[in-house]
């Protein structure tokens, strides 16, 4: 009886330790880093075209996924937090791919061809990529 109780207590202790370790690691789950993910490769024009054709279908394909977009820069700005934002042209002059970069500064130039990898948030006026990094 005494040994049974001891085993029970040991099991209980193991359970508590493992449980709190799991909780701890879940709680401290690292931030998603797009640099470690392989992006779906697509051109800015194609991405916008797919979103314009059918937003729901495009969201199924791209929403929350890492995407590697090739395009031409039309505008570089910064947001209210000081992060750089890069607009890529599509075939439609009124819309593009708007990327918020992870970093505050960028040496990218307007008019240059660029490859950017980011996480797709969906589409407002433009298709939005967040947490983006410049690949090339």
């Amino acid at each position: 009886m005494n040994s049974k109780l001891r085993i029970l207590i040991i099991l209980l202790l193991i359970f508590i330790v493992v449980g709190s370790a799991v909780a701890y690691f879940l709680w401290n789950k690292p931030q998603r880093n797009v640099e470690n993910e392989k992006g779906i490769e697509v051109t800015a024009a194609q991405l916008v075209k797919e979103y314009q054709a059918n937003e729901a279908d495009a969201n199924k394909k791209y929403l929350d996924k890492a995407i590697q977009v090739t395009g031409t820069i039309t505008e570089i700005k910064s947001n209210q937090e000081g992060n750089s934002t890069v607009m890529l042209a599509s075939d439609d002059a009124f819309t593009g791919v708007l990327c918020t970069l992870k970093h505050k500064t960028t040496d990218a130039n307007s008019g240059a061809a660029i490859v950017i990898k980011g996480i797709c948030s969906g589409m407002l006026t433009d298709v939005r990529l967040r947490e983006a990094v410049i690949v090339k």
Binding site: D64, Q80, G122, L124
Partner: protein, 179 residues
């Protein structure tokens, strides 16, 4: 003859004043929210908000739910998957009007109190919202700021983990610089 000129002059002036209705806009407005939780406060911000503010008082904000960033990845996952179902409802918007727009002089620098009334759509549910904020005019730059509370049950937000882990209302802060 004189009368015709007068009529034409009035029409021209009226047309000009309609054209003078300037619209301020941005694609990078900021909206954040804050919620008290027993374990840790929940805070997130979205710096990719599209917004327009017209001199006639019309305002609109549109944002993508996935654009909210948390300092904790687990919170972000729970927010999107359990509570807001962001894949099903990717957007939120607010369409409204500044009811006291006549008190705001866009050609004179200052901080003007603004009363806003409109409809807020979150999680596929639309509800009326009324709040006080300010419109700040500095040169050609206009900034809109407001704070209001959102009751989660108003928008049928009741994730599988809701229990007592998160508060029933969250405080939403809008701080948007227009171009």
């Amino acid at each position: 003859m004189k009368r015709i000129f007068l009529v034409i002059a009035i029409i021209v002036i009226a047309a000009l004043s309609v054209n003078a209705q300037k619209i301020y806009s941005t694609k990078m407005g900021k909206i954040s929210f804050f919620s008290n939780a027993p374990l840790e406060d929940i805070e997130a911000r979205n710096s990719e908000v599209e917004s327009k503010l017209a001199q006639n008082g019309q305002v609109i904000f549109v944002l993508l739910m996935k654009g909210f960033q948390f300092k904790n990845q687990l919170m972000e996952d729970h927010f999107n998957e359990n509570y807001l179902e962001s894949s099903k409802y990717p957007k939120s918007d607010f369409k409204g009007i500044i009811t006291n727009i006549k008190d705001i002089n866009f050609s004179k620098d200052g901080i003007y109190p603004a009363h806003v009334k409109g409809a807020l759509t979150i999680h596929g549910v639309t509800k009326g919202v009324e709040t006080d904020g300010i419109v700040e005019v500095r040169g050609r730059k206009v900034t809109a700021r407001t704070k209001f509370n959102v009751a989660l049950k108003d928008y049928s937000i009741s994730g599988s983990q809701i229990g007592k882990k998160i508060a029933e209302t969250v405080a939403v802060t809008v701080e948007t610089d227009y171009e």
